[in-house]
Amino acid sequence: MTLLADSPATRRPPGLLAATLVVLRKDLLIEWRTRARLNALLFFAISTLLLFSFALGAKSAVLKAHAGGYFWLAIIFASILSLSESFRIEGENAALEGLKLAAIDARAVFIGKALGNTVLLWGLGIILAPLSIAVFDLNVMLGLWRLVGIIGIGSMAISAAGTFYSAIASNARARDVLLPILLFPVLVPVIISSVGATSLIFEGDPMGQMSSWVGMLGVLNVIYWALGLVLFPRITEDI
């Protein structure tokens, strides 16, 4: 318990960064102790990838041409499970009440949880990428580290918007319906730009379009994180 110091002299509320790290550590620790969520996500994403190939028939050329799209759709579908789970665990034993009562900035909760989700989705993407490359017979033209980077910034954008929306949806009625309805429309630009960038990695980038897709992902990240930081403290007041 690093939040509560023993002597009254040092009993000051921790700063934003310290509190963020505590929330992040808490989320990752819960995940590490069970590892249930990452396992479930992984198998869910793999079955989604396989379902695409069943739905389209065994046409390797078609699957190969759209592999970037299937890869990101698998991540996005899995993110819905991950995001709703990240607030469900706070519902147990009124943990969210505890977080709200703790003398920390509400923004720290947002950043911590969103980073926790980012780490999970990034990990999922990194595990899923070699699998997609093998299953869809893809060639990595631009280097694996770029793919890892794009999965990272894509996951950050999904997690920022997703953490914000799942905080609302997880406390409303019909939460399972509400989260995708609200989140998918906001994620459309993220899907377009991450799929665009990922396809370039698999197909090569003769026209030099990579920087515009990455730039768009960067701008989306700035917008989503900024809006989340401003609005999250207000929505948790009323949960």
């Binding site: 949806a169 409303a172 019909a174 319906v177 509400l178 609200l182 009323d238």
Partner: protein
Amino acid sequence: MPSWLANALLILPAGLLIAICFKRDLIEIGWKVMAVQAAIMLPVGAWLGLSWAPPEREMGDVYRIIYAHVPQVWMALLGVTLNFGCSVAYLMKKSWTADALAEASAEVGLYFGIVGVTLGAIWGKPTWGVYWTWDPRLTSAAVMLIYYTGYLAMRRFTENPDTRATWSAALGTFGIVIPVTVYFSVVWMKSLHQVQSTPKTVDPQMVFALRWAACAFLCLLIVFVYQRYKVARAALAREVAPPEALGPAPVPKGLTT
């Protein structure tokens, strides 16, 4: 048709709105004036668009649907922008007026959006050969409709008025990303949908007919939003009222002595 006349059309609704800002009581007369204005302008606008304005060089008469399609989509964007303004106002001032107005504007904006997109699809068939194409403008407009459906669904799924107001204000604020994308999608991305026209490149008669239609639909939007706002306020008053304020419970038939 002189261009100042087209701009003059907006004087009545704009003047009324400004007057209402200073004197709230005027709203009761104001909305009726706008309803009358809409009732007169809509049929005249239909005539202007369908027969008075000249046919378009490439599309002939098919283009005439723009006099309904374009203003309705404008009104949809105006509705969701109003929703954004009210959402921010609620977050800053916690005013129930802003909350009710946000609900009204989202619903009316969604209505205009659905009609506008449907009209666009009808126009797309003879012009592009398909009702729907996965073009950035169309896709972003469809996404906007889904988002505001979700917004209204969230309002229905949340019982506590305070929570509902705060959450929907947060959603409305976050959601502004989407109408901005819709508006600029034709500029930012390669799109089949044409970019915004300016009056300089369009026949003055067409400009006049389009402005006329836009003004008529603006009056309609204001009337719809105000009526829906009154419903939202009444629903809110009923929700927060103590049970005795609603009067005695009706006695079922057969139980009276």
